[in-house]
């Protein structure tokens, strides 16, 4: 190859590699820019009072206390339903059956669920829980709908975690006379704990950030819920209404800082667990 052609090739090589590096820096910088922008505009109002006061005047002033509690309740209800179902499915798929049409069908179902947009979960939750089962706009309707939505996430991560437990540990259990369920409960699940917990945390992050399906199943009441059958407002819905209806930009910024802060802490926790496992 003549040297000038080699040089030209190297010129393009370096140019493109540098371009790809700059693009990467820009994308990573985007996350930091978004966080800094929100914190810059919204951190001033964030105080203990903001979390512990009731909202005043449709949310123009005051805090987010009932909204915070409703959000936590939604998280608890949805995980309480989705986690046992998700882990149970993962145990069945990995420990109790061979690959065949059952596993193909179950995996296909989970994959389809994962691809369904949240607004369709909203329509479904509204049709089934709110109207047909008569639960109305309530935390329980919202929690059930969200549970259906995050089920595939929990199935997938638990399955990965259970699969990564070495087979030799199971054989050890069986050789000592343990039954299948004893092996699963006392050997496999404790070993897969970190991985499963990571999936649960990721699911929680999705629940907290979700808006479209919550608004149609849980409603928008700002009152403190007195039971799971009360309508309530989650933090992301509150933020959406503040920003979209132009109620208060100031409060929207502060709520966004609280919301993003919560979700990022949860996800960093999950990342930490993944790193610890490796």
């Amino acid at each position: 190859m003549p040297p000038e052609s080699r040089n030209r090739n190297l010129f393009w090589n370096n140019l493109f590699i540098n371009m790809s590096m700059l693009t990467t820096l820009a994308v990573a910088g985007l996350l930091l820019a978004i966080i800094l922008y929100l914190v810059y505009h919204g951190a001033e109002k964030i105080s203990l009072d903001f979390f512990l006061a009731n909202p005043q005047d449709l949310g123009r002033s005051g805090g987010i206390f009932p909204i915070l509690i409703s959000t936590i309740l939604l998280g608890i209800v949805s995980l309480a339903i989705a986690v046992p179902l998700g882990i149970g499915t993962a145990i069945f798929l990995t420990e109790y059956t061979k690959e065949g049409w059952t596993t193909t069908l179950i995996r296909f179902g989970a994959e389809c669920l994962a691809g369904i947009p949240s607004i369709i979960f909203g329509l479904f939750g509204f049709g089934l829980f709110v109207v047909t089962l008569g639960m109305g706009w309530s935390i329980i309707s919202g929690g059930l709908t969200l549970a259906c939505m995050v089920l595939p996430t929990i199935i997938r991560t638990s399955e990965e975690a259970i699969k990564s437990v070495p087979k030799v540990l199971r054989d050890l259990g069986f050789s000592l006379g343990a039954t299948k369920s004893q092996v699963v409960w006392q050997i496999v699940l404790p070993q897969a704990r970190n991985g499963i917990f990571t999936g649960v945390i990721l699911a929680l992050g999705r629940v907290l950030g979700e808006t479209a399906c919550v608004i149609f199943t849980t409603g928008i009441s700002m009152e403190m819920p007195t039971s799971l059958f009360d309508s309530a407002r989650s933090m992301s819905v509150h933020f959406y209404l503040l920003a979209r209806e132009g109620i208060s930009m100031e409060m929207a910024y502060s709520t966004s800082v609280a919301l993003v802060g919560m979700v990022l802490i949860i996800n960093l926790g999950a990342n930490f667990l993944i790193a610890k496992k490796a």
Binding site: L31, I106, T132, K180, G209, L259
Partner: protein, 289 residues
């Protein structure tokens, strides 16, 4: 050693546990079935009473007067989705190439989680950023009101980055090292080896990544409502406002009743079918690999 009758008891218990787990494992199928039943039961009758072609290709959406044509929303959804891919996919491929082929291990270890955290930011927050940053930018520099197909595409293009990057990255990593060595030994520069050898070898993974990103863009609701302008028109310029299928449902669900509400479920049916077809294509591609 358990006595024989104890052993029988244990065996029975094990059988029950297996049966219980089998039932649990079918929960996702059950949910999927219920979704199809409840959305289709409400939506399908109105599609047929309106007429399938009138519903899909009619341009008049006056739900309180009984005109249900969702063609503008279908066009809006497709424009916004392809706009997002046009912006998001090239960026994603550049980033994945850098992270997989050229970044030092330490850089990769820092950058990858940072980019993946983008996926954790709630979509309403992206919508909010869209309203206060992207919309004014488009209005001042390109004209129009700023609430437009372009703004929505830009925002969705950013939102799909983490999905597309992480799958593209994995598929680049799965290309055997010998491909790289072979290309370099033939005198290719590292970039030539990446573009001509590694990208083609990772093709099916990249297509899957694009399709999943497409599904994400198509299904996004709240963020799109905030920046797209939501007018029921067929946009003829990227600076025109548009309404997507998802926004149509979310915007009107709060006050819709009767046939109007059913028409919104029918909008959901159309969206569901579009996403479902997309998923089948994606599954077929993964299988072929």
């Amino acid at each position: 050693m358990p006595l024989p009758e104890q052993k029988n008891g244990l065996r029975l218990r094990e059988k029950r546990i297996r049966a219980g787990l089998l039932m649990i494992a079918f929960s996702s199928i059950l949910v999927l079935t219920l979704i199809i039943i409840f959305v289709f039961k409400e939506g399908v009758p109105i599609i047929f009473s309106t007429g399938l072609s009138v519903f899909l290709f009619g341009t008049k959406w006056a739900p309180t007067k009984g005109s249900f044509g969702i063609f503008p929303m279908i066009v809006g959804t497709l424009q916004v989705t392809f706009g997002a891919l046009l912006i998001g996919v090239p960026i994603s491929i550049m980033v994945s190439i850098y992270l997989s082929e050229f970044a030092k291990p330490l850089t990769r270890k820092i950058m990858k989680p940072l980019i993946e955290l983008l996926a954790a930011i709630p979509s309403v927050v992206f919508g909010f950023i869209g309203v206060i940053v992207i919309v004014p930018f488009v209005r001042e520099h390109l004209g129009g009101t700023g609430f437009s197909v372009l703004s929505a595409s830009l925002m969705l293009g950013i939102m799909i980055l983490p999905t597309v990057i992480s799958i593209t990255f994995d598929s680049l990593q799965a290309v055997p090292q010998s491909y790289r060595e072979g290309a370099l030994a033939l005198g290719a520069t590292p970039w030539q080896s990446t573009i001509r050898v590694i990208l083609p070898a990772a093709r099916s993974g990249i297509v899957t990544a694009v399709i999943l990103g497409m599904g994400r863009a198509m299904g996004e609701t709240m963020a799109v409502i905030m920046v797209a302008g939501n007018a029921v028109v067929i946009p003829t310029s990227p600076l025109h406002p548009c309404r997507t299928l998802t926004s149509n449902i979310a915007l009107e669900m709060a006050y819709a009743a009767g046939d109007h509400q059913k028409a919104l479920f029918a909008t959901g049916v159309v969206l569901f079918v579009m996403i479902f077809l997309l998923n089948i294509v994606a599954t077929a591609i993964v299988k072929r690999k």
